[in-house]
Symmetry: D3
Subunit: 289 residues, 6 copies
């Protein structure tokens, strides 16, 4: 990046800014929900660049909402505490202590790190969990999984008010039920549900892949655009890796409930959000309703 | 409590409500900062009652702001993780790992528990740390103490906006400096600084004592009201226990900077906030400017 | 009342306040139209307590509207002036002079007394008659009755604006037609019509009875809850005293036009409004749609 | 009036409207307090025209406030009730019964008649007494006079809110003290105090004289304009009739406290308000600060 | 006019103002689109009076919008520049240079003159062309006519905002297409389209005739009121002069799309707008839906 | 430009956008007055790019105001009309006909062209002259110069309201006096006066030079930054060309009256506004207070 800055000529710089103009106008005031995770979150330099991009999006009038999980970091603290993960049918069982740990890591560390990185640029980000102002009402997914939750309802009012005050909500994916009991919820699912509740213009998943591949084994087979119905067919046909299924399911659901477009982007590419939203470059996979 | 409910007659109930009337009117729209800690926080039943009281205060038009610390709980997680506390001149040294632990406990557990307890009654509470929207700008207290901070500035805008939306801010006492580095800050100090920044009508410290004692060894010597200057003199004269000094110093500072009254209340008494604000009962110690 | 205050313990007081909490939340911002009359109006101590209750309801966020008549007091001034009441088919004939007298008593004395009693507690009450801002459009009920009117339309804008300013409207039941001619209207009818126009949550009739009796001769036969349809059947069956018919008719009409609940309460019980709205006590008769 | 209408040509009509233009612009949004009394109030045709003028003033953007007394009408009801007026040093003693009568007449009859006459043209006027929303705080003038009050303070908020809603406040000159006790207050005095509290542009006294006379015995000696200081000198020199003294004193006081101009107008002239405010005609006496 | 002013008596003036009252109330806040042209625009004295009338209409709360053309003045500049007008089938061909001339005359001279004449009375008028804020989207009427346009769409937002700020929009009838190409559009057509888009209460055409004549050759045959359908029949029957056809067509269209009334007035009569709107006089022709 | 677009890599593009971020944040909501003239206005491609830049500035939250003159174009129309320019002491004499011509060209052609070029991108620009809403009050500069004016006062309300509606005011430099007489005013002077009245953050002069030169004869001697006092000294010392004097004088005046910075930029450089405001490039001359 530094190199590019010093080499580019004034007309080249001007051309990039002019190229961005129609995109800036198109997205002004539009809500973009960004599911943040993977390398983009764990690599310190990428994390700093991600914060910059979010600030730039906000600066040009977009309304970004960040939703994050934090599986690996939860595992780290569990192992430090000597807890052994337990699985049933491939899903982690979350007992009360595990929930406490997950909540501390998600709300008390990852969320804080994202908020702090953004707020280096100004008083912009406000961290939330789904417990705040009853933002995410959760229900238990299955008794045998303990405090693993599903989204029952999203009460988006607090998000809308923060957006109206030009703030950037950063949401940790803990929800609570009516008795005040908390649950840990899959972040892809929450991102989709929040995008629906906000009637978002865009739903972005930052991942560790180039985008959706037509052939899982061939990195060059990236699909640049696909319809929700075709995406669903791929899931049914087993053409996508198992780990992608919850992400793609929530993506299809969101597109069928008012979200305009979804993007699966490669979070390992610096400034991938800027490239996607403000240039003519085609990156990742766009999913249309 | 249950017993009282069933025994009281209708006229008795009516008399209590009528007694509360002038207090309700006096405090309508007034900001009350409550430093929450000690037994009131650790006893489950008292914690539930505290949440009820906050909700009632909000319901009758007061604007409560909850500020909390969490020393003992931080110590618990540290010992679970096998970390040994280190002290210099009686103050705990906070290295990066300790800060992470403190932040996780304060923001990710205690803050969440308070928010959840309040939100059982409705979408009312929103948890914050001082990092959100640059609410608390911190500076390092002393290099040898590591990430122990002092309040440099309070940017109360986000609190005012939440209060204007009839929400209850619940604040964990983590602050950040301009580089995004976080610090752990004494909760009594933060409570005073926030009360000042909001021009609060009342600043309440929930403690484990009946109030300020004229004679530390005599529980019956509670002082019901005292002027800030006299309180300062007691500190100078060594008439108060060492542990009370930061609390009393922040209290005096706040009263000299616009806060109308401070109260040192016994958090072990159920509904002590209701008794203090809505009845003729005299409880705890009131400090006047 | 004084006795109760001095005897109750702090926990007992706290329990009453905590009991009131869910009711306060439920009624926040809700409009309650109170038809005020009978003993509650004529007994000075009860009148003072009524004013206190209205102020308390307002203080905890309810929106009370007081509607009052004043038959006996009108009769008093008429007899002082040597006028003989004249009746046709059991209804009082209201000539121009009688109307003048009724208007002076209702607007110039009773309304003023209620306003003054409330405003001892602050600048809260504003007296109105149906002539103000064309609040109540009236039509003559029957030529032979003179200036006895019926409600033709309620223009509730002025009430809504006063409520929005946290004021308490106190309404004398005089209306006017398009030529500016005034009419005296039954207060029970006006209370129902105003409750409808405001979409009130509650419509309360303060009376001199314990509530609706299943057996008019048996004071112990109070009905605690009844559906509007059943109430109507009682009227049809002649199971209620004739004097109650207009009250019950307007009550049924209001419940069929958007008012959520109606209450027939005993105005002779001190603080009956507080007991009904803020405690678990069952008093009077509740009528449901 | 009818004659004029039929005879005037189109150009003549147009000329009058064009002449009014600069005055309409000058007075847009300006508060005018009109003390209404005397013949203008008692003659039915003049009363109707007065209402029309107030409506027209409101229609072109002025903010009229009507203040009225009602001495003769109070006397009428007293004599009907067989009460003998009692005087001390020339001032009427007002016992509790007399106050009741005054209040009924002022608030319950005269105020109502004015409100009704205006509201024939639309939902414009709202009647008030000084008891409403603690508008006029009164103190007893002298123990031996009973409930004759002086203005202690004017709480103009309710007037400002009604004006902001394009309504016309009509104010009966009853005030109340902090215990809720009512007092009858001189209407000229109230008009001046209200004009001060509102920072009125104009204060108008409608009287039964052509204006202030240089020589009381010579109707042709009308003074068209006079400074407040000169007016005060006339009072001191005994050059004005005794009955005018309270009016002139309140007028001078108001001009010294922010009111821009006062006018003493002849209420017997039809449409005298329109002539004064919207034409080049010089009528009555203008008093300048 | 001057003569009338000096001769009329006070009661006569008052009668005119009182006569205007109901009209002022009826038109308060109502939008009136005035197509301004002909003698009223070219005679300096009439132009000054027109500006006064617009200011008076605004002063009493109406929302006038002025739409103007300027055929003769365009012709003048063309001949000064030595350009020969070219016609096809009776319509003027508008090449790029002619458009430039038309635009300069309409926007840069006539519009300015109207704005200046109004603003002598205060900061009231704001000149606009249809290019401002994409107010009028135009399409070419026919290739052979060059830059003669038709109204494709009216984006009335800017007009509504100016009206909401109590300003008087003065609109020159130039429109633009999506490429930024400007077109000259018939002013009668624009006036009708703007009136529709604003849901105007009144659409007024100021002309050089007394109104619509039943018999074109008989000036005494003025039709004072006519229905849109009958007006359309007259056009079909050839009963109106050819020059009137575009005016009448846009008038009928506007009345069928929400405009309440249209008026064809004689712009040669001084203050004809005041006479039409604020007196009982019948002038010109009123067209009803 | 096209070349740059196709050659730049994704990271290069991203770097430019990231470089722009702090500038975008710094200028958000800030008013920038741009004096537009010279080549930038006459070269069609540069004019199109200028419009794009203004739209981009608006899109990222800046509040641009365009002020323009048009000397050469006025001269063109004058010569087409056979008028000979007349000069007194080097200044053009402006008779009524010349004023008409200037007004038509400025308001009716140049202003329209700028508005249309911007509005290709959306309903953004609104053309104004100083006559609109009494925006610029003018006084004659000297009787012998005729209708050449100076700025007497700027009534910036209309500009502020348009900016608040996210519109771009484009201002032709015609002013009017209180009688409605128009004047032609120097555009550099108007730009400075408008920037002062708006408390602008930036005042930009687009010129045909690279910036201010230390040595008029040496294009390489561009001064990149200079204090207002030093600039004034250069004028006094005769170190600047005569044609620059009015521009520099208004610039110094504006900086002494609240404008934060002024820039003399080379309007011949494509996208010079973007380069100045959104990149690290140093272009032109910056003048500081």
């Amino acid at each position: 990046v530094t190199t590019a800055e010093t080499i580019l000529s004034a007309p080249e710089k001007a051309s990039v800014l002019a190229e961005a103009l129609p995109y800036i106008r198109r997205f002004a005031g539009k809500v973009v929900v960004v599911k943040y995770g993977g390398n983009a979150m764990e690599d310190e330099s990428l994390a700093r660049i991600f914060a910059e991009d979010i600030v730039l999006m906000r600066a040009v009038g977009m309304c970004p909402v960040v939703v994050h999980g934090g599986g690996p970091q939860i595992g780290d603290l569990m192992s430090r505490l000597g807890k052994k993960p337990e699985f049933r049918r491939g899903l982690r069982v979350t007992d009360a202590d595990t929930l406490d740990i997950a909540r501390m890591v998600l709300v008390g560390r990852i969320n804080r790190d994202i908020v702090s990185a953004i707020n280096v640029h100004g008083p912009l980000a406000v961290g939330l969990s789904g417990e705040d102002a009853q933002l995410i009402s959760a229900v238990a997914r299955s008794p045998e999984l303990g405090f693993v939750g599903d989204v029952d309802a999203v009460n988006a009012g607090i998000l809308e008010r923060l957006l109206a005050q030009d703030l950037v909500p950063v949401l940790a994916t803990i929800g609570a039920d009516t008795t005040g009991q908390s649950y840990n919820i899959n972040a892809d699912t929450v991102a989709g549900a929040v995008a629906e509740a906000l009637g978002a213009e865009r739903l972005v998943y930052l991942t560790n892949i180039e985008g959706l591949l037509a052939d899982v084994r061939d990195p060059a087979s990236r699909i640049s655009a696909i319809a929700a119905a075709d995406l669903e067919a791929m899931v049914t046909d087993g053409a996508v890796s198992e780990g992608m299924i919850p992400k793609l399911a929530s993506c299809v659901h969101a597109l069928r409930n008012g979200v305009r477009r979804a993007h699966i982007l490669d979070g390992r590419v610096p400034h991938v959000l800027l490239l996607e939203f403000f240039t003519d470059e085609g990156v990742g996979t766009m999913v249309e309703p």
